[in-house]
């Protein structure tokens, strides 16, 4: 899991103590939680949201919620799993708010250009960036973070079929943009 690799190992070693202190509102413990998960939360948000500003807002919203709700964390799953679900919900909330920008027109226009300029091959970062926010969110949550279609559907307020078709559409586009077309 990419988030785990980015976490501060000192927090992982003292997670129970830090969480116990954070529950009392201890500012140092809350700051430790922020420092431990700042990068994976921002990375998840930035991979989903269109702009760095949106991702930074999601980062702030996520940790505000973590501070408020740490008392409700029951230690049944991993701490990162709990923080990540908050971050994913906040990021999806943000793209719902920005939905007016989330059209496929830009991407279809781009495919048109690609067909004319077939020697151009995009790198993965640029291709991912070109996907609509919804498609990118599904790709990232499913393929990288490991959420199931049912979990993604529940977070997005959609059906698992919606999540599956978004993923298939996104991969079909990535395949073309990355110049990976086979003979199919």
């Amino acid at each position: 899991m990419p988030g785990t690799l980015l976490m501060d190992s000192s927090l992982l070693a003292n997670a129970q103590t830090v969480v116990a202190r954070a529950r009392t509102g201890d500012p140092e413990a809350l700051a430790s939680l922020y420092r431990a998960f700042e990068v994976p939360v921002y990375n998840l948000a930035r991979r989903i949201c269109r702009t760095a500003e949106d991702a930074e807002d999601v980062l702030q919203e996520t940790f505000f919620e973590v501070c408020r709700s740490i008392g409700r964390y029951r230690e049944e799953g991993s701490l990162w799993g709990w923080v990540r679900t908050i971050a994913a919900s906040k990021a999806l909330m943000r793209i719902r708010r920005n939905k007016y920008r989330d059209t496929d027109e830009l991407h279809d226009e781009f495919v048109g250009q690609r067909q004319e300029d077939t020697h151009l091959r995009m790198d993965l970062e640029a291709a991912l960036e070109r996907l609509s926010e919804t498609s990118r969110a599904v790709v990232w949550l499913h393929d990288v973070e490991g959420y199931t279609h049912e979990e993604i559907a529940s977070m997005m307020g959609k059906t698992p079929s919606f999540s599956k078709s978004q993923l298939a559409r996104a991969h079909a586009r990535l395949r073309v943009w990355l110049g990976e077309e086979g003979t199919l």
Partner: protein
Amino acid sequence: MTHLSMEALLGLREPGLEPGAATAREHLNQCPLCQAELDRLHQRVARLKALPPLRPGRDRWPETAARYKAERRRRRSRMAVLTGLATAASLAVVVGIGRMTQPASPTGEELHQTMERSQALENALSAYNPEGRVLDGRTARMAQELEDRIARVDRELEATELLPQEPPQDQLLQLWRERVGLLDALVDVHVTRASNAGL
């Protein structure tokens, strides 16, 4: 020959048995083109997982901490006002009884007025809604410092509530005065910043 669609290829990667998976797998076993496509899909996902982490351009903790502290303070303040009103009511009884026997002390009345002033400043801050606004780094640091000091006074006020006997009125008045002074400064920080920025 009809090859597997992207949806069917993705279905083969799911842990459970997707509808049509058995037929798809049968086709896959006989079709080198679809096998190559599935390999490319696996590689693409592996490359996505290997993308380097993106890092925030600036530290958002000061704003987050200030916002959280402000919320905690408001929660504490609501509690303190409720407890304070109860204390003021009991003081009024004590002062009332005292007036029958000796000259009245102004402390009880002043304490009540100071608490009311504190609540008025809380209301002003609440109306300004600092949490809904973006702070620049300097303002966020100043606000955070004041929030920390208010939180410290609140902790002392909470501690007096846990004492077995009524705390001395002078001590309570001193704490509430300090709280009002800090809140005044906090309102000033936010409002001055807002007027400087033309907000």
